[in-house]
Every structure is written in C-alpha cells, then in structure tokens.
C-alpha cells in the first residue's frame, strides 16, 4: 500500500476504528517504518485530544419550561381554532371562492334555465298551431267513393301548397 493511500486511511477509517483488523495491522507495521505517515498519525491523535477534553455542557432547565409552555399554548390555540375552522370550511363550501368554478356553475345554470323556457315556448307554440289547425280544418274530396278525407294541415307551408 502506498503512503498516499495509507495517509487517507489514517485520516478517516484507521483513526475512527472503522478499518478491518488485517488492514489496521498492516498500517500499524507501516507506521513503524515510515516517518511521514507516523508524523501524520501523531498529529491526528493530538488533534483528537482536543475533542477528548470536551465535556458535555449541562442543559439549562429553562429550555424544558419554554418547550412545555409552547406546547400548552399550541394545544390551546388548536382547541380555540377548531370551531372557526369548521365555520370557515362551511363558508368555503357555500361561497365558492374559485372564479373558474363560479363561472362554470353560472353558465350551467343559465343554460338549464334557458333550455327550460325554450322548451316551454316550443310546447306553447305547438299547442297554438294545433288549435289554429283545428279551426281551419278543410275537407277535400280526394276520392269520391270514400267521401271526405280530413287532413290536418299542421303547418302553414302545407297550406301554402294546397
């Protein structure tokens, strides 16, 4: 193994004990012979001593008090916010805020209303036509043997041609 590779391992896996036993033993033997690599290893071990001297700081008690207060406040806000939340949702359902949906609904309603009145007007016209036709029933003798055959002249165009 080259010094470059060994120095890479020294700075990570070897120092952190993440190397398998065989490779670790190989590096240990190399360190005895190589001053450059053993110098780096000593530097890294000395650097590590800086961290070893660090003791965990005690956690200030006020942090838990703050957290507990924040949780209680959050729960209260959630409870207070429940009723208005339901009302808001209902309002949103009744009064649609989305313009596209509102426009589509309006157009659909207008079409339905128009169709209803148009249908009503057509039916009324048909009824009137039938009444007019009944008033102007004409008898035409198409076959003298059979006597009169009555034709209902339903439309004005037929009347025109006759």
């Amino acid at each position: 193994m080259q010094c470059k590779k060994i120095q890479e391992l020294l700075q990570a896996d070897y120092l952190d004990g993440e190397l398998d036993q065989k490779d670790a033993q190989f590096i240990k033997e190399h360190l005895v012979q190589c001053s450059a690599c053993s110098g780096l290893e000593k530097s890294l071990q000395a650097q590590r001593m800086l961290f070893k001297g660090v003791k965990p700081e005690p956690v200030p008690e006020r942090i838990w008090s703050n957290i507990a207060d924040a949780i209680v406040t959050e729960r209260l806000n959630q409870q207070e916010g429940l009723t208005p939340g339901i009302l808001e949702r209902l309002r949103d359902l009744i009064f649609l805020r989305r313009p596209a949906v509102v426009l589509a609904t309006s157009l659909f309603s207008m079409i339905i209303i128009f169709a209803f009145f148009a249908n009503f007007a057509i039916q009324r016209q048909v009824l009137l036509s039938k009444q007019n036709a009944a008033e102007s029933i004409a008898g035409y003798s198409l076959n003298n043997k059979n006597g009169y055959v009555l034709y209902d002249l339903g439309t004005s165009i037929e009347e025109y041609f006759l």
């Binding site: 700075q11 990570a12 110098g39 000593k42 890294l44 001593m49 942090i63 838990w64």
Partner: protein
C-alpha cells in the same frame, strides 16, 4: 444517547406530556450540545434545542419507525442547527476553502503536542468555526458524540463514503489551522 422505548414514543405521540418529558430528558443533552458546537453560542443552542423539540412534538404522530428514533432525533438536530447557523451567519467568505487547504497540505505535518487542556474548549470552538457547517457537524457527531460512520450517514442522510470524505477534509483543514496557530505563536 440511548434509544427510546416504543411505548414511551406512542404515549408521547398520543399527547402524554410525561412521556414527552421522558424523551426530552433522554435526548436533550445530545441536542443541546450538538447545537452548541454548531451554532457557537448558548443563546442560539437554546433556541435550536427548543425548535428541535417542538418539531419532534409536532411530528411524533407521523414518525413511522423507518429509522430508529435516535437517528431521527440526530437528523432533526443537525438540520435545525445548520439552518440556524446559516441564518445567523450569512457571510461565509471567511470560511476555509477546503480544496486550497488540501493542496497546500505538506506530507510531513508537525505534531500538535503541548496543547494546554485548560484552553481546549475555546481553542476547539475557534477551530470548528473555520469549518463549513456540514464538515463541522460530521466531525462533532464523530469526535464528541461518538457516532459510528453508519449512524452519521443515517443522521445526515448521506452515503458512508461522503461521511469518510467529510471527516478527512475536516481533519485536514484543522491540521492546517493548528499548524498556522503554531507558526503565529512563534
């Protein structure tokens, strides 16, 4: 940090404050101390710790045990601390450029001997301050909290090789910094 019992997590997620406090007591030292190292001062560390536990509280119900609870807490802590650090410290220009540092690193480095234990803390903080938040958090998790590579990878959601390279780069940068300090002292 020991992992938390499942029933404690379940009770806490159902809203039991005693169980949530139990979680806090078991994990707050880790959270506070990592936050302290990453953000550099106690006021920021307190803020981060509070943020972390509020996040844990709000998300306990959605915790799906895909990772261990401990790993989940590590992840929230490191992410919150790094975000807080970035917000409070916009200017990154003074940070060490790692690539330049690595190129300038001599093969035969001097040993760091004779460092007084009394000023270790301040010295370490000053050195860590030279690192980027990512390198710093990786080194803190390894050297101070004693996490394995696998645990660090899980906590930071990065591959194991990235853990290796971050640790290596962070250590190289610290070696250069400490070498500079020695020269300054002379």
């Amino acid at each position: 940090m020991n992992d938390i019992a499942l029933d404690v997590i379940e009770r806490a997620s159902a809203g039991d404050m005693d169980s949530f406090e139990e979680i806090y007591r078991a994990t707050s030292s880790f959270v506070y101390n990592v936050a302290l190292r990453v953000t550099r001062n106690s006021a920021n560390a307190e803020e981060v710790t509070q943020d972390v536990f509020m996040k844990i509280y709000r998300n306990l119900t959605s915790f799906q045990f895909r990772s261990t609870f401990k790993t989940w807490v590590y992840r929230i802590t490191v992410n919150t601390a790094i975000n807080h650090y970035r917000k409070s410290n916009k200017e990154e220009k003074d940070r060490v450029d790692y690539d330049n540092v690595i190129e300038s690193l001599p093969d035969n480095r001097p040993a760091l001997e004779g460092i007084s234990q009394s000023d270790n803390q301040a010295r370490l903080n000053a050195l860590l301050d030279k690192l980027s938040p990512e390198h710093k958090s990786c080194l803190i998790l390894r050297e101070i909290e004693g996490l394995s590579y696998q645990e660090i990878a899980g906590a930071l959601k990065i591959p194991m090789n990235t853990v290796r390279s971050r640790l290596k780069r962070a250590r190289q940068a610290l070696l250069v910094e400490t070498k500079g300090d020695r020269h300054d002292a002379v």
